[in-house]
Symmetry: C2
Subunit: 113 residues, 2 copies
Amino acid sequence: MRIGELAERSGVSRDTIRFYERNGLIRSIAGTSDTNNYRDYPEDNLTALDFFSKARTAGISIADLRDIMQAIAGSCDRADAITVIRAKISELQERATQVQNVIKFLEQSIDGD
Amino acid sequence: MRIGELAERSGVSRDTIRFYERNGLIRSIAGTSDTNNYRDYPEDNLTALDFFSKARTAGISIADLRDIMQAIAGSCDRADAITVIRAKISELQERATQVQNVIKFLEQSIDGD
DNA sequence: CCAAACCAGTGACAATGGTCCATTGTTTCG
DNA sequence: CGAAACAATGGACCATTGTCACTGGTTTGG
């Protein structure tokens, strides 16, 4: 599909999609037309963009997402990919604990009310 | 204490402490000397900075931290403060769920290995 | 056919969260 | 005393994460 449709269906703006592409988060392929150079964005970018949106609000950086996507897609070495992803999972679990700690702190600060 | 000691003991750099102060996260008081204008940083800034460090790695913004600190310290209206903090707690719980979702996604991506 | 909508590419701009540097003045310690 | 360490202030600079605007070309619906 073309970028407009992808933007529409994913809820991610054209500019942001292009930004993500520049940063290696997604890939598009050259269109087949000989009159334009509109690029084609495969369907699976919808899944990816949806994941990115969730991950970004969860505070995961573009760089991390790039690592993850490369690990998943770049099947050059499956074992390496899994190692990368497991590491990210650990980081995220650590992050989750940190968030819980902050919640606890805040709860204590209003304790008794 | 002076800023150097605070930096040393909190593990937060001078520059960052000053940055936080400029942004209303902490407060210092004018020193008593008549020859210098070194500021005095009360002991409780240690607790605050420790909290900030954790909160920042948990992905909480400076603006949020300022809101929280103002709510806790500015006792102008206790009920308002509690409302603010409860709202932040909700946001954080939402964030925690998001992080869990991303973890799930990642786990599925390496499922079976 | 033609205007409106779309596309690519570029570069400027903005907010956030720091970090670094230079200058000037103060304190501290050997 | 004098050098080294420390403090205050101010501004420059950096990466990250987008967003906006402009140009020039393409497609599409009425």
